[in-house]
Amino acid sequence: MSVSRRDFIRGGVAAFTVSFAAPSFLTEVARAQGARSRSLVVLYLGGGNDALSTLVPYQDQFYYQRRPVIAVPAGQVLQIGTDMGGRALGLHPRLTGLRDIFNDGRLAIVQRAGYQNSSRSHFQGTDIWGTADPGSPSVMGWLGKFLETVPSDALSGWSATREVPRALRSRTISVPAIPNARTYAFNSPNSATEAVHERAAATRIASHVPVNRPQLSFVNTAAIGALETLDRVASVSTYTGTVAYPNNGLALALRTVAGSIVRGIGTRVYWVQTGGFDTHATQGAGGTGAYGNLMGSFGGSVLAFYNDLRNQGLLGDTMLLQFSEFGRRISENGSAGTDHGAAGVMMAMGGAVRGGIYGTAASLDPNPGNPTLENNGGDVRFETDFRSVYAQVLDNWLGANSTSILGGDFRAGAPAIV
């Protein structure tokens, strides 16, 4: 262990930071798992992504009739071919990054992912996707249940956002929330030697398990989770990557994830999210504006992550899985935006992903009898149960047992994305 003196500016005071020297970050657990074990990066687009603007059915006349302002002109979409139903599809014009990955054969796009009686509530919808249980979105997340099946380690899961989402919650695993590896350090009001004493005492105090106060145990577990992971996380904080990442929160989170993968931390599941997709208003005309900017940062960030991992030979060990809590109404509203809808689009990216377009696009004909729509022709009806995608990832990528984790057999009809 070494102690370094470093001023910390946050909060306007100078103090000391205790750190421990690398390379002890590569723990026995991480070695046992193999430093290059497969990892899953889940990317959540918060707010309900407008799938019909991400993947545009640019030959469907109803798409243009029902979205006179916000529709992406057919001449501007990035054509990626047709789906199994013969419908021509194009990516949003700001998704050039994803088009490049698609052309490499490493991007799978699953259309009309969702579930029966789709919730239009952000919060219930997010819980359903997080727990994979539309009936009773309980406390346990699908990824938390998976992490309970792998060797216990303080960094087996890593939430690169400030909170730990329901998807990563479990009874026995406490996943750390580490939005920024560079500020994840233990500060002290005192000199270096004293800081070491403080850290030892803080660890001892938080290691206590009061049997009759479960709430105190919970907070102690979070504190210990932080104290135990500080030094391994510190080894990631200097990572800059082999490519220039865009300067936005999503890209910087993905760079942190890439750093963790490159340094062999041993994390199996990462959670990354970015918001702004609740586009009730001024989504932007013809693919420009606010939604276009969302797509620009989404596509650019994922492309940087893809290229960085590919350059370092780690793409084959990584899969990124993208989802959102629902898609949006087909018809635009009066404010050049879209309200809450039903089925959405999922994507998977990685070295072992079988690229392509999965599922069939809906016909956007508002006729209430149109079987590909629901809610009187207002919303896109799901075709692929999102849990079958989870099953595919659990079974064929993470080597887990999807039936026990998801509480049911969802393997039938799963798109063969990996």
């Binding site: 939005p179 233990f186 009001p189 004493h197 979070a222 009066g334 309200d339």
Partner: protein, 486 residues
Amino acid sequence: MARGSPLIEHLLRRAGFGMSPDDLRFYETMSVATAIGRLLDYESVPDDVDDRIGNAAYAGVTARGTFSPNSNIEDARQRWLFRMIHSQRPLQEKMTLFWHNHFATLYSKLQGTVGAGLGAKLMANKAGALPGPQGQIETIRQFAVGKFRDLLTEMSRDPAMLVFLDGRLNTRQRPQENFGREIMELFTFGLGNYTEQDVYAAARVFTGWNIRLVRGADRSDANSYYEFVFLANQHETAAKTFTFPIYANGSRVIPARSAANGMQDGLDLIAALARHPETARRLARKLWGFFVSEVLPPDPEFVTSCAAVYAANDTEILPVVHYILRSRWFLSLTNSYARYAWPVEFVVRSVKEVGWSGLSVDTLRTPLTNMGQTLFEPPDVAGWELGEGWFSTGAALARMNYAASVAFNQRFNLGRAAADARTSPEALLSLFLDRFSPAPYDSEPYDGLLEYLRAGAAWTGSDAQLTTKAAGLTRLIVGSSEYQFM
């Protein structure tokens, strides 16, 4: 100070933001009933706390240029933190925080839509400070314990809310569902009590509720403002049918009305939602978590009783809070420290207990963001994730590191305070456990604190050693899990 009034302290933590030594001296001579009365009857206490900003006896603020809490969001955050620390009407600030989370509105969306200056005014302009209506947080503060129906009405016509949930874009030709959905899902009775049909109908009810920009003569943001306006020509006049009763006679239909009278549609729906029994029960459950316990689920008898008080008092909140504070659930010390402190509650309480000499509340803002709570910037319209949701590892680390920074900031004051206990580590620990108010330590963490005081050079009780150990001990206590409960 000796700690001899556990119920008074419990009351001040829950119905306020904890206590400075002066607060404790003031309240601990009262009976619990008197103290509750004093907290509830805050209208009888002068509302002059803002006049003390800049007074050296109080916590400081940091001005970048002119201190502008009515039109600069960072300064507005400083003013609110200052009020939480020093207001003599702590329950009013507490309820304002409760409703800020309930009617969660994100400044960032206002800024993106109307710009930084006008956006800050929409949130925080104090009545009469700058031209235009008072900001959302001031309206909440005004109605904090008034009738919920009035608060709901004010929030529905609040310019910040009309920007945040897109009500300004909700028109006759193209109804927009954002506000119509959230007023049912989040602001009143919650999921399970309405259908998609009700969402459509509610959106149409509120068509025409809009805002208007009034430009000052100099066209500056400070002198310009947004105000509420009802645009009759944008109102959908047809009847609207709901799946739940709108009127006392059980009718579920808001009748067709002339455009000029169309604003009554929204008032009828607001009244129906405010008096709906499931709204009363949902608010009771939220108040249970806020005042009584986040460890135990709401007692059904508590929920029923609170809902009855709410209904009997025409949706007024003051009698409900009064009932709660006098109830056996609140006054039972088995529920003390059963509430996870929100980051602002934790930070404000620590400042009141550790001290504020030479401290600017501006230095609290970044730590609060790292702990997951930026005032005027909840994560989304559902507000913050409370309880265990505050305690990710990153947030737990941020709390420990905040404790380090406040201990560093106050280390000389702490060192002087420790002079009374220079005889031994045990004496110092005893003094500081009396000064601060964490949940009780079991023997193992207690021994950990003592071990820290003994670590390093042998105990001499020198001024230098006291300054070091008092700061380290403060960071350990304030940063400990025991201190994160209230």
